[in-house]
Amino acid sequence: MVTATKERPVESKTVQSNRKQNILNVKNLEIFYGEKRAVNGISLDIEKNSVTALIGPSGCGKSTFLRSINRMNDLIPGARAKGEILYEDINILSDQINVVALRKEIGMVFQKPNPFPKSIYENITHALKFAGIRKKSELDKIVEESLRKAALWEEVKDRLQKSSLSLSGGQQQRLCIARTIAMKPTVMLLDEPSSALDPISNSKVEDLIVELKKDYSIIIVTHNMQQASRISDKTAFFLSGDLIEYDLTEKIFTNPSVKKTEEYISGRFG
């Protein structure tokens, strides 16, 4: 394993209290856009090395919640959060958090593939170089490693210096996943990563996600019920900013305890 320079957002305490294998503990999280409340005091624990799916109709607050985990909401003027998200027992919503270091630990892949308009190789090395890795041999190694993990290596190994924009949408999205993997995060946030892709690319990305959970804890927002049931271990159902139900995926999809959940997954609204 190559050790990318990993700073903890705040000096990490020995993680012994965290025996229950949760990577994130969310407590009473409220998120506001100006006066409007988008997330109404939700609490949930995210398990380590598992896939957690966030489902719910558009505007239910699931993407807002996801974006708060690596503080991407900081970019939105007027957005603010109350409550706690504990990552290694540290509240990452605190003002004292080094957001840049946090985002190295908690990576994110977006809905629309957004590779940099640079070469495939540079897409991956961009952040590595910033993190201080300069040696060509080391960069080469990480590029190959992360492209392999993203199941893209065989398709692009002969054209690493070509523009990333010459790739298909599905390949671009896997490149985006690869560059996130290259930073060796512990958590990966996926915001509808395959909604803009064709069915074949979609299934490749899904296989990849299942594969990745060995090394990472994954939280995925999806509008695709089949996708959630295929790849996730636990599912959280959001509605109008509330967390309605959070349980094992199997339970949510076969025998949900709340009527709203059942109505939503059977397609009666949303």
């Binding site: 190295k104 990576g107 977006f110 940099f116 640079k118 910033f130 010459s166 930073m183």
Partner: protein
């Protein structure tokens, strides 16, 4: 009238407008080049101008034009692009930012002769420099800064938000993201803005009349010491540019070949602007291709 006819009439009108624009441009070029090219010779380009005799050239004026342009851009581009970055990336929306934006817009719409007068007060009298290249370049900076700020701001704003988020989400700082992701993507648009601004600087006369002056000292092109009075590189010497020269020979020239000199100068001016427009675009697209890895 049915929709089909009105659609045809609309298309017809727009074709006509396009035709008018092309006609104006072509006839202007035809007039300038036909009148001017016959007056351009190697001697015309390399001889110093004459105050009284016929047969003077435009060597110093041509050099001055490029040199003033260079100095102006050296000051205006970093300031302007920096201002654009500030407005697009750092300025918080609110009263202060709105005020800055209105100031920039008012500055952009000031007549150049007024900026010349301001330059006379500030860069000629107040500083005690007299007529200098630096004074001229500063006046032209005042005149061009708003354009470059505006263009840079717009270019940076039009970079897709997804790219910025992608970079930040990888744990890269805001400034590094601006340097390595946002500016390269905005580069072609910023370059176009700079070229337009450069064209304005190159052809500007009014703002230079009272700042860089109407005369040029005797220049020794072998003297590369920028602090020497006879060096062409000295920025504290007066410098008449090509555009100012056209104005001055036409209004106060004593030479018998005013017509030839001014039409020749006009042609050189137009051709120079054309050449560096094309050159800048070509270099720009090369750089863009290199950083984006497209062939």
């Amino acid at each position: 009238m049915n929709t089909k006819t009105s659609d045809r009439i609309a298309s017809g009108i727009f074709y006509l407008i396009a035709l008018i624009i092309i006609l104006i441009l072509v006839s202007l070029f035809y007039y300038i080049l036909v009148n001017g090219l016959k007056n351009i010779s190697l001697n015309f380009l390399t001889a110093p101008s004459s105050n009284v005799r016929a047969g003077g050239g435009i060597r110093d004026q041509l050099f001055n034009s490029f040199y003033v342009l260079f100095i102006t851009m050296l000051i205006a581009v970093p300031l302007g692009v920096g201002g654009g970055i500030y407005m697009a990336e750092y300025a918080k929306p609110g009263k202060v930012t709105d005020t800055i934006r209105s100031c920039v817009e008012v500055l952009a719409s000031l007549p150049s002769i007024v900026i010349g007068m301001f330059g006379l007060l500030m860069f000629v009298n107040l500083t005690g420099w007299g007529y200098t290249i630096l004074g001229g370049a500063l006046a032209l900076t005042v005149f061009n800064l708003p354009v470059i700020v505006r263009v840079s701001e717009d270019a940076i704003r039009s970079v897709p938000r997804e790219l910025k988020e992608a970079s930040l989400a990888l744990g890269i700082t805001h400034w590094h993201t601006i340097k390595t992701v946002i500016l390269p993507s905005a580069f072609p648009t910023i370059l176009t803005g700079i070229i337009l601004a450069a064209g304005r600087v190159f052809g500007e006369a009014a703002a230079l009349l009272f700042t860089a002056g109407l005369s040029t000292p005797r220049l020794d092109y072998a003297n590369w010491n920028p602090f020497s009075q006879t060096s062409p590189l000295n920025i504290f010497r007066p410098a008449e540019t090509l555009a100012v020269h056209i104005w001055s020979v036409n209004t106060q020239g004593l030479i018998p070949d005013v017509e030839e000199v001014s039409s020749g100068s006009a042609a050189v001016l137009v051709i120079s602007v054309l050449i560096f427009n094309l050159l800048a675009r070509w270099i720009g697209s090369m750089i863009h291709r290199k950083i984006t890895a497209t062939k």
